[in-house]
């Protein structure tokens, strides 16, 4: 990888987009040894409202800290897709939740049952963000699986390791089916 990768993880406040961004940044920066900048934007409310986290990964020094030409976009809600997909590059990769995002205005979008798999297989929708990370890493190889797993384990609450490991596994499985 010899370029700047701009990744945007978007959804609704409370869906764990910022946590996912931090995990992805830690995987790329601390464990894969890349340069990384992670930032986010959210409203004053704790839940609801569109929320996004951005991660820039590069083997060069990163100066400008914001994402403006998106290589990889995750949208967990229709509102997030509508609001945050406008600057996805034409050759960018888009992953959306197939339950919450119904209308996408471009071809080639990966519609994956992220929330549904979280509910059915893990039993809690809360881990949909981790499934999404697994899917993104599986599809794009933007971080290694080993590093992502380490980062997930270092950033989740104690006692939830099994559920999160399972979620990551589901994500990579979904990616393999793409």
């Amino acid at each position: 990888m010899s370029k700047r990768h701009e990744i945007r993880l978007s959804g609704s406040g409370g869906q764990g987009m910022i946590t996912a961004g931090v995990i992805l940044a830690e995987a790329a920066g601390v464990y894969d040894g890349q340069n990384v900048v992670q930032s986010q934007s959210y409203g004053p409310e704790a839940r609801g409202g569109a929320s996004k986290a951005e991660v820039i990964i590069s083997d060069q020094e990163i100066h400008f800290t914001k994402a403006t030409a998106i290589d990889i976009l995750l949208a967990m809600t229709q509102e997030a897709w509508d609001k945050y997909s406008h600057d996805l590059k034409s050759d960018g990769v888009a992953v959306v939740d197939s339950f919450y995002v119904k209308e996408v205005d471009r071809p080639g979008v990966h519609k994956l049952p992220l929330a549904q798999m979280a509910r059915q297989e893990v039993g809690i929708e809360m881990v949909a963000n981790i499934i999404a990370l697994g899917a993104i890493a599986g599809i794009t190889k933007v971080v290694t699986r080993e590093s992502l797993e380490k980062a997930v384990m270092s950033r989740i609450p104690k006692g939830t390791e099994d559920k999160n490991r399972q979620a990551l596994e589901i994500g990579f499985r979904l990616a393999a089916g793409v």
Binding site: G29, V30, V37, Q38, S39, Q40, S41, H63, T65
Partner: protein
């Protein structure tokens, strides 16, 4: 011990820097986007034997910090615009009573409650002139997570040495951004603690020798008797109305910064050797400027960057010289034009000075700065 590389938020790095510097007291009131500084300090201070107190508001918060400083602690608080405004009166008390402490302002959009979760650099002149009366200010401005750590350490060093409140003017962009950094090992960065007096208590004058910079001073309760007050005072700290003593005190306060400008001038230079278009930028906006300078160079424009990391006192001499060298200077900042006023004041050569401003809560982009560079190059 192996070097620890961590992914840190600017606010976390600031708190870690404070602990590294020997901070043993935090008093304050949480406010977005600075809250993580208080959260981290609340976790770490009890472990390192320090004290954390959350007060009823920011006025009380800075009050506890000044009290702790008088009692010999390395004290800090962290806030954002609305809280910074509330702290202005006691900031002046800290200047007058010469109390070393660190005040962190993670700037957000204003005025008033403004944009709690979005960044700005709109308190830059408030940092200089927000409290009333003639006074000096020392303020630092970090552009990266690593600088949030190292500059917090430096703020404590300067506060201890100059015996005054020192401001760390962060912003939401840097405060909430994460980058990886290698945590400095103990001893790797300089940490300064002011000497304590060794003379007999009867001979001690709290505001005695010279300007007090780098000198010894006592903590309250250590056996040395002195008074502190916001009123103009004599060398023992007792209120005075006398013109000669007033002038002595005011000259002392001014000289402690004015007589040490070289030590307090810290400006990062990039591509400045042959620069014709110089960008002046600081804090989060400087990251965009760094990108724009490189893009301009790639297009054949001889652009350079001046990035002050100490913003107050303003680096007059460096800016005046850069303006003499340059065809034009572009000032990139996240407000309606604040530090550009200082740049214009330092402009002795009628060099063109152009603003590149953004104040809608979003980060200025390289393209926006490039447009102004193109205009400057015409």
């Amino acid at each position: 011990m192996s070097k620890q590389v961590a992914l840190l938020q600017g606010n976390e790095a600031c708190a870690l820097g404070a602990i590294y510097a020997g901070c043993d007291f935090f008093g304050g009131y949480p406010i977005t986007p600075s809250t993580e500084v208080a959260e981290e300090m609340a976790l770490m201070l009890p472990r390192s034997g320090g004290k954390f107190i959350q007060m009823e508001d920011e006025i009380a918060g800075i009050g506890t910090v000044l009290g702790a400083a008088a009692a010999g602690a390395k004290a800090m608080t962290a806030t954002s615009g609305p809280g910074f405004s509330l702290m202005m009166e006691l900031l002046g008390y800290g200047c007058m009573a010469e109390l070393p402490c660190v005040i962190v302002n993670v700037q957000r959009g204003g005025p008033s409650t403004g944009l709690p979760t979005k960044g700005a650099q709109a308190d830059m002149l408030q940092a200089r002139w927000g409290t009333h009366g003639d006074h000096q200010a020392i303020a630092l401005c970090p552009s990266s997570i690593e600088e949030c750590f190292t500059q917090t350490v430096k703020c404590f060093n300067l506060a201890e040495r100059f015996r005054m409140p020192v401001l760390l003017m962060m912003d939401e962009f840097i405060g909430h951004m994460r980058e990886k950094m290698t945590i400095p090992q103990p001893g790797e960065l300089e940490t300064y603690t002011h000497p304590r007096p060794k003379i007999k208590p009867a001979e001690y004058r709290h505001f005695g020798e010279g300007t007090g910079v780098g000198g010894a001073y006592a903590a309250m309760g250590s056996g040395y008797r002195f008074n502190i007050t916001g009123l103009t005072h004599d060398p023992k700290g007792f209120p005075t109305n006398r013109a000669d003593e007033t002038k002595w005190k005011m000259d002392r306060l001014r000289a402690k910064v004015a007589d040490h400008l070289p030590e307090l001038t810290e400006v990062e230079r990039e591509f400045m050797d042959d620069a014709e278009i110089v960008i002046f930028s600081y804090g989060a906006a400087a990251r965009t400027a760094q990108q724009a300078v490189r893009e301009a160079r790639a297009q054949g424009v001889k652009a350079g960057l001046l990035r002050p990391t100490v913003v107050w006192p303003f680096p007059d001499q460096v800016v005046t010289e850069a303006l003499r060298q340059a065809r034009a200077m572009v000032v990139a900042e996240l407000n309606q034009g604040q530090m550009i006023l200082e740049v214009e004041r330092a402009n002795r050569t009628h060099t063109r000075v152009l603003p590149a401003l953004r104040y809608d809560g979003e980060m200025i982009t390289p393209a926006e700065v490039m447009n102004v560079i193109a205009e400057a190059a015409r």
